[in-house]
């Protein structure tokens, strides 16, 4: 298979899968086979692509040129490869999970659900492989729109309200600020193609560069930097598989990924470091890390707590990005992968608990661990990975982020990172501990409760074992992260 075909297939396959899902929507078993088949195929193709890419091959494709100089074009570089790899691999796991989840809860409109999901993955691939800001923006917006029906899935008043917040904040920031940033970039630089080393050197007064960077930082609402983070907790009304893949992996990572792309390939890390473009803005990320952690501590709803934890963790990536030093960028890129595997495990566990017991609140989980040891075991592993302790993958990204802070002389930021790790411990670890060691509330008995259906368990076990594996073998992601940061 030629490289261009491979690239095209990765972009189109999920979309074609969605059409097939709609076509066979009346036959649930066939429909789920289509989902699984497509997802598996995408996972295989993305691994093949990654192997070839690391072998030094190039992938590029230009589709059309709507405005002279502005093309819809794709080109694979290290960062995009990393993002596509994470999303492609986790889609197939989530598909296994969603089938068990949706069927156990007898959810309505499952065809729409699986079809929208597949379309969203196509959009993620488009974001990951975009060769310029226009293409990236196109798929960024399509991703928002295709996930809207997923957030509003249940159709209740609460879901509709959440979906409205979701759409308004994401479209609002992207049209009002992100698009403006792109337009200004095009206006001053005459190009919006991603280039190693950036395109703004000598084109913009460094004093204004900070303002332009702020347009991107706040305009890319999917990165959930405060004060534009409200959409993420609002999106938690979606079914858990959606929260798991889209709002812990695909959508939010599309945000931080876009910001990384802009930082590395539009501004260029040299330009940022030399002119101190992000000097003040970096504190917005630091504040988001701490504030979101503090809010998370006060949330009793499990999914809400995980959502705020995501907000906080995303700002780790944003912070590493804005440090713009080599270690900072490596840490940020690796955290895209590490946080994805950790957080998806946590969401899977939250969904499993809901499927079996219909419980949403943390305070109701006392003693449940003995009835559902696998679920809470997985949760524990995911939590430790997020906190960043060995022997789990999450440690590596935090290591490099810390190194980045030291490298650039931001010792106060190092303090923020350490403090936040402590906060992570206080809001994540009590959940499995409570489940394993506390006594159930009076009158509660868990004798009748068993683990969640097999597909759910399988998905959870795969992701939690991957967290462990990534500690001993972070190599593929590390290599890609180093390449993205401009090293050898």
């Amino acid at each position: 298979m030629s490289n261009t075909t491979l690239l095209l297939l990765l972009l189109l396959l999920p979309f074609l899968g969605a059409l097939a899902i709609i076509a066979v929507g009346k036959f649930p078993n066939l429909r789920e086979s289509v989902t699984l088949g497509t997802a598996a195929l995408v996972a295989i193709l993305v691994v093949i692509t990654a192997t070839r890419f690391l072998g030094g091959e190039t992938f590029a494709l230009t589709v059309s040129e709507p405005i002279p100089g502005i093309t819809i074009a794709f080109k694979i570089e290290a960062l995009g490869m990393l993002f596509a790899l994470v999303a492609g691999l986790l889609w197939v796991v989530t598909s296994i999970y969603s089938i068990g989840y949706m069927r156990s809860l007898k959810e309505q409109n499952q065809t729409r659900f699986f079809a929208s999901f597949a379309v969203a993955i196509s959009c993620v691939m488009g974001v990951a492989f975009a060769e310029n800001l226009f293409t990236l923006f196109l798929f960024y917006e399509l991703l928002t729109l295709s996930t809207y029906p997923l957030v509003a899935h249940s159709g209740t008043a609460e879901a509709k309200k959440g979906a409205r917040t979701y759409l308004l904040i994401l479209l609002g920031t992207s049209i009002g600020l992100f698009l403006l940033g792109i337009l200004v970039t095009w206006f001053v630089a005459g190009t919006i193609t991603f280039q190693q080393g950036g395109i703004l050197e000598g084109k913009i007064d460094p004093a204004w560069a900070g303002l332009l960077y702020a347009l991107f930082l706040f305009g890319i609402g999917k990165a959930a930097v405060m004060p534009f983070h409200r959409w993420l907790p609002a999106a938690m009304v979606a079914p858990t598989p959606v929260s798991a893949l889209l709002h812990a992996v695909a959508v939010v990572k599309a945000g931080v990924f876009s910001l990384l792309k802009v930082t590395i390939y539009i501004f260029g890390s040299d330009f940022i470091l030399r002119n101190d473009v992000t000097g003040m803005l970096i504190w917005v990320a630091a504040a988001t890390i701490l504030l979101a952690s503090l809010i998370a501590m006060n949330k009793d709803n499990l999914k809400a707590r995980l959502a705020y934890s995501t907000v906080s963790q995303l700002s780790y990536i944003v912070l590493g990005t804005m440090l713009a030093s080599k270690s900072g960028l490596i840490g940020a890129s690796m955290h895209i992968a590490m946080h994805a595997f950790g957080k998806i495990t946590l969401f899977f566990a939250a969904g499993a608990i809901y499927v079996v017991t219909s419980k949403k609140l943390i305070s109701e989980l006392n003693g449940l661990g003995r009835a559902m040891p696998v679920t809470f075991g997985a949760f524990l592993i995911g939590a430790i990975s997020i906190i960043g302790l060995p022997p789990l993958g999450g440690m590596w990204s935090k290591w490099y982020l810390g190194l980045g802070a030291v490298e650039t002389g931001h010792l106060l930021l190092l303090g923020v990172l350490m403090l936040s790790s402590l906060l992570n411990i206080t809001y994540l670890l009590p959940i499995p501990l409570r489940a394993f060691f506390s006594k159930p509330a009076d009158g509660e008995h868990y004798t009748g409760i068993k683990e969640a259906p097999k597909t759910i368990l399988v998905a959870m076990i795969i992701t939690s074992l991957t967290c462990v594996l990534l500690f001993f073998y972070p190599d593929p992601f590390y290599q890609l992260a180093v390449l993205a940061a401009g090293g050898q």
Binding site: S64, P66, I67, P68, I72, F134, F137, L138, E141, L142, L145, A152, G155, K160, R164, L167, L168, L171, G172, I175, G176, L179, L180, L183, V184, W186, F187
Partner: protein
Amino acid sequence: MWSHLSLLLVIIPLMAAPVVAILPPGRIAWLVALLVTSTCFLLAGMQLWLILNHGLVNYEFGGWSPPWGITYRIDAVNALVALIVSGIAAVTVPYALLSAEKEIQKHQIPLFYSAFLVCLAGLLGITQTGDIFNLFVFLEISSLSSYALISLGRNRQALTAAYQYLIMGTLGATFFLIGVGLIYSQTGTLNMMDLAARLPEVTGLKTTHTGFAFIMIGFALKLALFPLHLWLPNAYTHAPSVITVFLAATATKVALYVMLRVLFTVFPDGYLTNTPANDLFLLSGVIGVLSASIRAISQVNVKKLLAHSSVAQIGYMAIGLSFASMQGVTASIIHLFNHALMKGALFMAVGAIVYRVGACRMENIQGLGKQMPWTFGAIVIAGLSLIGVPGTAGFISKWYLVMAALEQQNWLVVAVILVGSLLAVVYVGKIVEALYFQPATSTNLTVKEAPILLLAPTWVLVLANIYFGFDTDLTVGVAERAAQALGVLVK
């Protein structure tokens, strides 16, 4: 034959109109109208092709050369606008068959098609002519027929709406005529090219300024430029659905064309920027975008909501023109084209709902998205184009408009354009939410998808919205040539 092309474009619908009027009630009138409009579309396409490949066309009536005779002078601008007008007419007529049968009394149908053709002839005449008095004649032809068409709407409010439009439209036409008279008194000619040659000598005179002001205000009324837009929402809301589609996509576009023509071809370079006119255009554009978008949000009638949105879109075009730069005028012309596509598609889809449900207030359309998936899809995609999401024609408009504003370093306008897009998210979202997320009322549960004859034309326009989001050779390429042809200074 080729040399008569430009004339045929106007003459064919004009001659066909009385013939259609005396046809018996039934579908034969429709068939003739269909034939005429598709011929016009074909001719307009050929005309544009000729212009793009062979340059200007000059046609002298009866061989009388100017200044004695009337000439048609066609360049890239008129050719493009004529193509839009006849193209929209060609997709509207197939749509009209069922929609008109539903909304208009049977015995009036031949008259309806007759008036429609007269209106088409008038609009095409305005775009084709090179004589400013002749333009007034065609303006009256198109206006009078559109008053009649609007009044055919089935509820009685259509009559007041048509009357309101009649008053405002006549005021506009009168102002225009007064303006033309004043200019004529100073220059002694009505031919646009001669005017362009003679006006520079008299631009300092108060009479010329007054004439200019009268012409501009006259056409601002026809264009429904804020704050002279008050007739538009009612007229669009209560007219038969087909007529709303046709007028929304063509009438205001033609009015904008006349403005561009007068501002940049007839009046000398720099006239716009040396008078307060451009500031006034900018001001009314900016306030128009914001106030009309906000008004749109609070509407409960979908047609009225879209009508207010049209006023906002006209504001964007006014902003582009006020810059008096290549980029700005190009952006206006691009938006003129793209807006015809998106509003055409939206009003058609709403018309399909009216066809099935009989009304289009928010409470009437609840939950119809599931019952009418194709109509719903059309509204979503055309709505995204209206917002300006990338991948649609609307994005191209916004891109060029913002670029034009950046070129002027006018950050306020950049902000207004983006805020306008956000407000569009809200009002398009309102329609989508009512259609898809409100539970269907019991009467709406049995509603079926609209017939194919309504869906096909709608989707032609919807797909055009996507197509012109990716391939902009026709829109941007021609718009740039059009801006040059108008005589905008390249800075």
